[in-house]
Amino acid sequence: MARIIVVTSGKGGVGKTTTSAAIAMGLAKKGHKTAVIDFDVGLRNLDLIMGCERRVVYDFINVINGEASLNQALIRDKNCDQLYILPASQTRDKDALTREGVGKVLDELSADFKYIVCDSPAGIEKGANLALYFADDAFVVTNPEVSSVRDSDRILGILASKSRRAEQNEEPIREYLLLTRYDPNRVKSGEMLGLEDVQDILSLHLLGIIPESKSVLSASNAGIPVILDEKSEAGQAYEDVIARYLGEERPHRFIESKQGFFRKLFGG
C-alpha cells in the first residue's frame, strides 16, 4: 500500500510544483519507489520542473479514460530509477478528472509504489479537491504573506471536511507545514511574517522552512529538482524535510538572518 501525499496551498504560485518535484525526488533517492502526479490539468508544469517534457506521450487523463495504460503513461525519471512522473493533460480541462477515475489510478499505483505525491493546482475547485481527496498526508505549502496564510487555513478546513478520510470517518489526514520562500533578513527587519507569527495562526507540524533562493530558478531552468542541488540552501532544506518526514529529528535551519557587511558596520 502506498502512502498518498498531497502538496497543496489554496493560493497559486507559492511553490507547490517546486516542492512536489523536490520531495518526490527526495523520497525516491532514499530508495522508496515514488510516483509524482500532476493534477494541474490544462496547465501542466511538473514535466518541465522534472525535465521530462519531451518524453510525454500519454497523460493522466488518457489513463483515466482508458486510452493508455499506466505503464505507457508513467515516465521514468532520468536521474533516479525509483521515480516516475505522471504528467497532466495539456489539452483537456479539469472536468476530465473524475473521483472514480482518480481513485482507480491511485489504487493501481498503490499496488506498486511506496509513495504517491499529488501536485495540486491552485484554488479550491475540482482539481484541487480531487488532488487532496484520497490523501493520507498533506504538505501545506505556505509563504509568509497574508493571502497565502489565509488560503492555507481554508485548505485545512477542506482537508478536515471534504476528504475521503473525513467523509468515511477515518483517522484524519496528517497535516504538515512547509514555509517556503522565507527571507530571514526581511523577517528580522519586520517586513515579513516570521515562523512564529505563522505558527501562532496555523499551528501545524512544521516539516521545514525553505528559504527564498536563486537556486530554485536555476533548477527549474535546467529541469532538475532543486533537491539535487546539494550545495544550495533550498536543496538542503528540502533534504531536511524528507529526513524529518521519514522520522529523523533535525534542527530547523535557514531561520536566522545572516549578518551582512553593512549591518556589522552599523552595529545593527
Binding site: G190, M192, L193, D197
Partner: protein
C-alpha cells in the same frame, strides 16, 4: 541607537500589522467553518412561523452561532416592527438552543 536602527525605525513594522489582521480573519474563518449547515433553513422556517403572528420582514430575524470551549449556542434575534411597542421599537428575544 545605531545608524541602521534609525533607518529601520522610519519603516513601519508591517509584519505585525499582517499578523494582527490574520489572527482576526482566521478566527472568523474557523467559526464559519464549524457553523452548522442547517442555519439558513432554520432561519427561513423560523421566519415563516413568526410571520403567522407578526408581520416582520426577511431581515428581522438573525440567527447567530457561537462556540466556546464548553458549549455551542444559537442566538436568535427577532426585531419586531415599530408599532408593536410604544417605548422602544426594538425588542430582543433570545433563545438558547
Amino acid at each position: 541607537m545605531s545608524l541602521l536602527d534609525f533607518f529601520r525605525l522610519s519603516k513601519p513594522k508591517t509584519a505585525e500589522i499582517a499578523k494582527e489582521r490574520l489572527q482576526i480573519l482566521v478566527a472568523h474563518q474557523r467559526v464559519e467553518r464549524n457553523r452548522p449547515s442547517y442555519l439558513p433553513q432554520l432561519q427561513q422556517e423560523l421566519l415563516e412561523v413568526v410571520r403567522k403572528y407578526v408581520n416582520v420582514d426577511q431581515e428581522a430575524i438573525s440567527v447567530k452561532f457561537e462556540q466556546d470551549d464548553n458549549q455551542e449556542t444559537l442566538e436568535l434575534n427577532i426585531v419586531l416592527p415599530e408599532f408593536q411597542s410604544e417605548t422602544e421599537e426594538v425588542k430582543d428575544e433570545q433563545v438558547n438552543i
